[in-house]
């Protein structure tokens, strides 16, 4: 219960923020909706008064006529028909406009959430289940739909009616109006406590839905493993736990929300009786000026007053749920983004009179543009010179991963990292592209501290191939082109040839236009790796990071791939993490890592001669050959 105040505070701010989405882009349309709603409500109110007019002004006079003429009545009815038509048209217009506004707002929210998510640091993605995040785009956004499209207009229309009826009541009898206000205040108090309860449970429901979504995502994604281990029953047990929990909070949330309608409706009747008795006493005793006829009129008004009040309360159900969804959406939007204080950018350059000059067009020559305090800029050619200077790093403060790492890679050099799994090899590459920031020490890129380089520009200069290939739904062509969006078909095919992926691609049913679905389960792991190498090839970056990039490719193919890569390696700095000797042995420098430290370094021959860990690691390979 102690999280309740936190919730109600943020509920108010969520509502405000939600409204800002309407006012930002759709203010004109929204004002139009308000006007149409008022028109529609006025038509309704006029309609409800029409009966009295009909009887008093038309039927009664007609009754006294010898030869009744219905012309006047026809005119009145036609006028009324006109007003009604106007009302119907207004109703249609506001409904139609409001759904478009609502969908527009939902789209804005979705898009903004996604754009924000793209800026968030890797650490967020490493620590949150995918399904829960996905739930925010669907389940949580959905809760807003009903509220915006239906509840919102209904509430505005009701409030309009409430206000106008209130003034009518006040002119009839202020004493009875006080009675009405007192009961309404009581009703609102109870309504508030009910919505408070249901709001708490709706929030829990959306959270629970997110958790369930996360579980389903993980299990269904791992369904093959589930099958292989006959783990179906256990997976059901885990699911049932979450599902029961979800059912429990959903029941509670809906229960309290459902209570509103009968409560408000019947409180209206209680009020009616109270008014009849108090009013009757007032009128009969003559304490006030209220007549019996006035009391009857007042009683009718009180019905028109409580009716919209209970209508609003019915809509609160949807509102409360929507605010619970909104809160989760805004929670994601408020996640901290990657800090990027870099100001050095990557620009195209050309060489004129031995001097680098910034160029508008793509020249194939790149330079770092380094602005200074005095307004001048210097250009440094992008070469791919990487230096680690006493770098320490830890993912969490309590556990250091890297200790005092110093190394350098000259442009065009190949630096390999070997060592037992968990020694910190991948972590080093995570630091070069700044997925994570170092705790102590410096990393320099072409002599520039990488903290000064804009992240996007830094990453654009680095090609990366990971063991987990992560292809996207789309054609083979599109997947390779991911490395360089403006690559021509020829460039893509050329890159595929270099990566030795061309052969298998041409055997696919539709060649480069074969559509890959989801995780490309139709391809073998090795084929996926070839595609991801081609993807990095086409990006054509001065620095390449290969993290177990060829582990699932058979050695025959790898030999061919690396031939192509060797040709490309010219002028490229390459960081390689691999277990295969054939992949690392021709490196300029090999770093042997152990528990976050570099324990040996040198080229292949030197390390073998040293007879240390490197020698020991790899003599397992062909001992009997």
């Amino acid at each position: 219960m102690n999280n309740k105040p936190r919730f109600s505070k943020s509920t108010a701010s969520s509502a405000k923020r939600l409204f800002s989405y309407i006012s930002r882009k759709h203010l004109g349309a929204f004002i139009f909706v308000m006007i149409a709603i008022v028109v529609s409500a006025v038509a309704g109110v006029v309609g409800s008064l029409f009966l009295q007019v009909l009887i008093d002004d038309y039927i009664t006079p007609l009754l006294s006529m010898a030869n009744p003429v219905f012309d006047e009545l026809a005119k009145a009815i036609l006028t009324m028909a006109g007003i009604y038509l106007l009302g119907v048209a207004a109703t249609y217009l506001y409904n139609r406009t409001m759904v478009v506004i609502a969908q527009g707002v939902l789209k804005d929210i979705r898009d903004e959430m996604f754009v924000h998510m793209q800026k968030m640091p890797i650490s967020y993605f490493d620590t949150h289940t995918h399904g829960d995040t996905m739930s925010r785009y669907t389940n949580d956004t959905d809760t807003l739909r009903q509220m915006l499209a239906q509840s919102f207009p209904q509430i505005i229309s009701s409030i309009f009616t409430i206000v106008s009826v209130f003034f009518a009541m006040l002119t009839t009898s202020w004493m009875l109006t006080i009675v009405v206000m007192l009961t309404v205040l009581f009703m609102l108090r109870v309504a508030k406590s009910l919505t408070g309860k249901s709001a708490k449970f709706f929030f829990e429901q959306q959270q629970s839905l997110g958790k369930t979504n996360g579980y389903i995502e993980e299990m269904i994604n791992g369904q093959r493993v589930v099958k292989v281990f006959c783990h179906e029953e256990e997976s059901k047990v885990g699911f049932n736990e979450l599902n029961d929990e979800l059912c429990h909070v959903a029941t509670e949330a809906n229960r309290f929300a459902n209570f509103l309608m009968p409560f408000m409706g019947n409180m209206g009747y209680f009020q009616y009786v109270l008014l009849a008795i108090v009013g009757g006493a007032l009128a009969v005793s003559g304490i006030s000026t209220l007549t019996l006829g006035g009391l009857v009129a007042f009683l009718q008004l009180s019905r028109s007053f409580t009716m919209p009040v209970s209508q609003v309360s019915q809509q609160l159900n949807a509102v409360v749920m929507a605010l619970a969804g909104a809160q989760r959406i805004f929670e994601l939007m408020d996640e901290e983004v990657e800090v990027d204080e870099g100001y050095v950018t990557l620009v195209n350059a050309s060489c004129e009179n031995d001097k680098l000059v910034e160029s508008e067009v793509r020249t194939g020559l790149w330079a770092w543009k380094h602005p200074h305090h005095d307004g001048t800029t210097t250009l440094t050619q992008l070469k791919g010179d990487v230096v680690f200077d006493h770098v320490d790093f830890s993912y969490t403060p309590d556990k250091q991963i890297l200790y005092d790492i110093s190394l350098y890679a000259k442009p065009g050099q190949k630096v390999a990292f070997v060592g037992a799994t968990g020694a910190g090899k991948t972590t080093i590459t995570n630091l070069i592209n700044r997925f994570y920031d170092i705790a102590d020490g410096k990393i320099r890129y072409d002599g520039i501290n990488i903290n000064k380089i804009k992240k996007a520009d830094l990453r654009r200069s680095l090609g990366i191939v990971l063991q987990d290939t992560n292809l996207f739904t789309g054609t083979v062509m599109e997947n390779i082109r991911y490395g360089k969006l403006d690559a021509t078909d020829e460039e893509v095919i050329e890159a595929a040839k270099r990566a030795n992926a061309h052969y298998f691609i041409s055997l696919l049913p539709e060649g480069y236009h074969t559509k890959l679905e989801g995780d490309a389960s139709g391809l073998s792991q090795g084929q996926r790796q070839l595609l991801s190498i081609a993807r990095a090839e086409v990006a054509d970056t001065p620095v390449m990071i290969l993290d177990e990039a060829t582990s699932s490719i058979d050695t025959r193919t790898e030999a061919i791939v690396s031939k192509g890569m060797d040709a490309l390696m010219e002028g490229r700095t390459v960081f390689v993490i691999a277990h295969r000797i054939s992949t690392v042995q021709n490196s300029n420098a090999i770093m042997v890592m152990d528990q976050g430290r570099i324990i040996e370094r040198g080229d292949h021959d030197e390390l073998i001669a040293e007879k240390g860990k490197y020698h020991q690691l790899y003599t397992g390979a062909f001992e009997e050959a």
Partner: protein, 579 residues
């Protein structure tokens, strides 16, 4: 479809029925109250009779109290029934997916299965709650009001009989037009889920290629599509409210016109006209409620169809009748096996495979990328059914086994390994629920995982993030091997499961296998010759066929492909030896 959906109400039937009953009582009270009100005005207030006012007032209070009581009860049961129903449906889908074969899994995308279990079910839940509350309330009010209207003035009431069918036609048109668009909307939701899911999984690729803008564009496209489709569908539904209003207003005007003439000619009183209009409003209000139900049903129908689609999916791998429940030994035989993922003879990715492997043998499988090595071994635990020929395990056709028995006996470490969020222990227990700490440590020692696990601060209780994000590739593979070993299988299949493990550790794993589990038949798919060269026999695969099979020495002497692979790797090895 309705029958099928209704079957899952199950234990929430009582709550659903109770909702209906309490709603009826509630409505009866609500209908009674206006009578009391009219009485109160006519005979109490108009006459200034305080006693009658208090008496009737108390009567009204009683009625309202009862109505409140029943209202709260029905609210309670409605919530219980609808949330419970959603729970049952969600469970039904999840259970169904658990029965799916690999072929079924290939058919549905993860994203669409998720949408079905959350978004779609939520739609159905809302519709169901609406139905059990309103579908009872509205007809009762409708019938009651109609009866009252006819008893006052049958001729004028005929107007309702004209208006209601017209309204029905209008509603029907709306629903028919909107439904196909809603179907599209939810398919687009699948796309949305897919884009987000791929983005989340591939976030490292996205960030390192600086493709955030590209991803945003992709997302925006889908998001825009949802916007377009949803707006289009909802614009059609926006006709609903004005249509209703139009019907109400038309009825009122018609009643006013003809009613006025009747009054003038003395057929009717003004009081009756007033009541008739009141009933007209409540008739049309109840129709309005029904139309809301229709809208909800329209939205949820598309969802319901998607749910039923999963429930109706025929699982193509079924347990046989009177299955064999013990696997005698680890013998494996393939006889003239051909296999195609699409189950068609002209797209075979495995052909003419004949194998005879005795219990306890170690079989290496080597072959180029895409040569169907994985397809071959996946037939052994019957993850797919053969297209032609027979696969036998323990000298019995795999199709005759109880699936669980077979898969418990045949342990596969898939190429695409997945760990689940949870502690290392929890992940290991997938292999054997009742595994003791000693057994787990033993398995991890065999898989050479014990050393690095013990180095973690929390040891075996270290929490693994989803997909094993916080352990390295090689650690993940070793954990997966340990998990498979805990099953204590008769056959163990490693599908390129040590690719990210360093060679020395790889050798240690094989050595441990040889010493500790000699009785288990082992299939090892690998890229490194070193991983398979000690095997009793090595299968060389090439484009879906067995190119050759024999020992390391035999193949080295006679098989061209094997020689080529060997020499490409040996170069490195020779260098070591020369040092």
């Amino acid at each position: 479809m309705i029958k099928q959906l209704a079957a899952h109400i199950k234990d929430y039937k009582t709550a659903s029925i109770k909702t209906g009953i309490y709603v009826s009582f509630e409505v009866l009270m609500e209908v009674a109250i206006p009578f009391l009100m009219a009485y109160l005005i006519d005979y109490g207030i108009e006459a200034g009779n305080m006693n009658l006012i208090i008496g009737l007032g108390l009567g009204m209070l009683l009625a309202a109290g009862l109505s409140l009581f029943f209202g709260l009860l029905s609210a309670h049961y409605a919530a219980k029934a609808s949330a419970g129903y959603a729970k049952n449906l969600r469970q039904a889908i999840f259970y169904k997916v658990q029965e799916f074969s690999f072929t079924n899994i290939d058919k549905f995308s993860t994203a669409s299965l998720i949408t079905r279990q959350t978004t779609d079910i939520t739609n159905i839940q809302n519709a169901y709650q609406m139905i059990i509350r309103v579908a009872v309330r509205a007809p009762i009010m409708l019938i009651f009001s109609l009866v009252m209207a006819f008893s006052i003035n049958p001729e004028l009431s005929l107007i309702f009989l004209a208006v209601i069918p017209l309204l029905g036609v209008g509603l029907y048109v709306i629903v028919v037009k909107a439904h196909p668009i809603f179907e599209k909307v939810f398919r687009t939701y699948d796309h949305l889920n897919n884009v987000v899911q791929e983005n989340l999984r591939g976030i490292r690729v996205v960030k390192s290629f600086v493709r955030e803008d590209h991803e945003e564009k992709k997302f925006e496209e889908v998001s825009e599509r949802i916007y377009q489709q949803f707006s289009k569908a909802e614009k059609i539904l926006a006709f609903n409210a004005p249509l209703m209003q139009f019907a109400i207003y038309t009825s009122i005007l018609l009643i006013s016109w003809f009613g006025a003439q009747m009054i003038v000619s003395g057929y009717m009183t003004t009081g009756q006209l007033a009541s008739l209009i009141t009933y007209a409003t409540s008739i049309l209000m109840s129709l309005m409620m029904l139309s809301f139900v229709f809208v909800m049903i329209t939205i949820s129908r598309a969802s319901a169809e998607r749910v039923v689609e999963v429930l109706n999916e025929t699982v193509d791998l079924e347990n046989p009748n009177s299955p064999v429940t013990t696997v005698k030994n680890g013998n494996v035989t393939f006889t003239n096996v051909g296999f195609s993922y699409s189950n068609s003879l002209d797209k075979l990715c495995l052909q003419d495979v004949n194998l005879k492997i005795a219990s306890g043998q170690t079989i290496g499988i080597i072959g180029g990328t895409g040569s169907s090595k994985s397809s071959l071994v996946q037939l052994i635990p019957r993850l797919y059914d053969v297209t032609t020929g027979i696969v036998e395990v323990g000298d019995v056709d795999v199709r005759k086994y109880d699936l669980q028995t077979l898969r418990d006996a045949v342990s596969v470490v898939l190429q695409k390994n997945i760990l689940f969020s949870g502690t290392i222990k929890e992940n290991l227990r997938w292999g054997n629920k009742e595994a003791t700490d000693e057994q787990m440590i033993h398995a991890c020692k065999l898989a050479q995982a014990d050393e690095f696990i013990s180095a973690f601060p929390d040891g075996y209780d270290t929490y693994i993030e989803q997909g094993g994000g916080n352990v390295s590739g090689g650690q993940k593979q070793r954990l997966c091997i340990a998990r498979a070993l805990l099953k204590n299988p008769k056959i163990l299949i490693l599908d390129d499961s040590t690719s990210a493990v360093d060679t020395r550790t790889d050798a240690l794993i094989r050595e441990a296998f040889l010493k500790e589990i000699p009785h288990i038949t082992k299939f090892i798919i690998a890229q490194r010759i070193a991983s398979v060269m000690d095997a009793d026999a090595i299968i060389v695969m090439e484009e879906g066929r067995i190119d050759a099979m024999g020992s390391h020495e035999e193949l080295l002497a006679s098989n061209e492909i094997y020689q080529e692979v060997y020499h490409s790797q040996l170069k490195g090895g020779n260098d070591f030896d020369e040092q």
